[in-house]
Point group: C2
């Protein structure tokens, strides 16, 4: 533990709505250790953020130096620790104008929050995903194309010349959870596996006739009643219809663009499979690794100013 | 009360998932009285249906005759009182082959359940709405066109030569409730009024580019954050995007068809307004009155066989 305290030269923090994730980093940007708690932004009142962070940092805090802490995510929202105003597209996903220094009371840390990004037309916002995009760009500085960040609110971001030019958020993950657990469809899909053929069929249906997505959903329940369809096929169809609707909406932007998917492995694989139905191949990266890479890029940007 | 018991010649029952609605009818098919309870199909075990009905019929039961009871709705589902197998399209919404006689133990009633209707390609089902359609056809026997039945699960049914030829169910009401009360959009729309201009804008957007519906939803939240949009505009947009998606899906079937909307008045008015954006006018009928008219048509069909 003494070694950890001694060798930690800064701390990377992904502070979302439901979780607080902390990496203890050495001077070469290697991870020495990491901790995670459920003290997400959504569970904390404004004055509870600093104590929550200090508690998580206990293994590495020292009275003899000031530890830089670089944070991203919903911690910078209006309901968060300190509001970090959105930067507007087109913009580099990371830059020194878009970092907020948090007025902390504990002298052992200096904390920074990386801003989210907004788009006015059509309106859209991100907080945290810009850091994942910066992580992808740290690995591929010359990347131009589309970065897909699947999750509760999936983002499709167009990147060109190091800048995020536009993006689009889909509530697919949240809608999937509501439909599969709380709607009439729960009788047909809750707890079932995701059948691959059903998934591909759902994607193809949505891509071919996106105006029919709203009409297709109840057919999942009816197919169960009328055709005795299996639960895993129903579940595959539900995922396929919803992710297929994203592909249909993004299709014009995806022509001849390289695509990178950065997310959790199972979900990323589903998105890659959906893209394959329109003959687009995608490179998959681990979403958490991209977040950390983006926080490292943020620290590199900031460290000369600290 | 004696008069009511004496003059009731049959009973009409709309027994759905959440409510039991009973009309006491005289021999001219006029309503003498009505009662409603929350003992819907979803709250009852199989052996609780008859006692619930008997309790509701207490004011009119008599030991000296057998009272006909004509029921429609989810009471005939697999989880209901007695399963009434679906009739398959194309089919008359009411016919003697599609009525189930319930084996009751109380000698004072004879009870019938009107069957629901299924469609195999694409899979779809209805229970209760077929009776509303029969009600519309009782008033307009020669109607050919589209009957829209807005609600939790909105149905659009094509009718021709007295038969239901095909139909399409949209989970719009249920999805609206989930999104407005439980998703991230609740922060922007919960409890707000429905702004008319926002609604029309939402409908037009979905009709013009149905592939963008999934992309538009998160924009409701983002528009609140980025543009300080009012809650009632956000709520109008949400309703508009969802109902507009129905119009987009149904559009090809609606060309030059007359349209009847049968539902609750506020919701019916929204659907009429949505149809007006593509220059289709619709006649609005009260949905509950259509249910009762359909039950009357069912009784007229059955009474010679009782």
């Amino acid at each position: 533990m003494t070694d950890l305290r001694e060798h930690t030269s800064w701390v990377a923090v992904d502070w979302g709505t439901t979780n607080l994730r902390v990496w203890f980093m050495d001077e070469t940007n290697a991870v020495l250790d990491q901790v995670s708690t459920e003290q997400g932004m959504g569970t904390l009142s404004r004055d509870a953020f600093e104590p929550a962070l200090i508690a998580a940092l206990a293994p590495v805090l020292s009275d003899t130096r000031v530890l830089p802490v670089v944070c991203c995510g919903m911690v910078g929202s209006r309901q968060g620790w300190v509001e970090a105003p959105y930067a507007a597209v087109p913009v580099s996903p990371l830059n020194t104008q878009n970092v907020v220094t948090v007025p902390t009371t504990d002298p052992r840390i200096c904390a920074f929050i990386l801003s989210g990004i907004k788009q006015v037309t059509p309106p859209d916002v991100m907080r945290g995903e810009e850091t994942q995009i910066a992580g992808v760009l740290r690995a591929y500085p010359d990347f131009s194309g589309c970065i897909c960040l699947p999750g509760t609110h999936t983002k499709w971001a167009m990147v060109s010349d190091g800048k995020l030019t536009k993006f689009n958020t889909f509530m697919t993950g949240e809608i999937y959870a509501l439909l599969s657990k709380q709607s009439v469809l729960r009788h047909s899909v809750d707890g079932a596996a995701c059948d691959e053929a059903g998934f591909v069929q759902g994607v193809r249906t949505s891509v071919a006739a996106p105006e029919m997505v709203a009409a297709s959903l109840f057919g999942i329940r009816a197919g169960d009643l009328v055709l005795d369809r299996m639960g895993d096929v129903s579940n595959g169809l539900l995922s396929g219809y919803l992710i297929g609707a994203e592909i249909a909406a993004m299709r014009n932007d995806l022509n001849s663009s390289p695509v990178v998917i950065a997310g959790a492995s199972k979900l990323s694989a589903l998105y890659a499979q959906a893209l394959a139905t329109i003959d687009i191949s995608a490179d998959i990266h681990d979403g958490e690794a991209c977040t950390l890479d983006g926080l490292i890029a943020g620290y590199e940007l900031l460290k000369d100013t600290i």
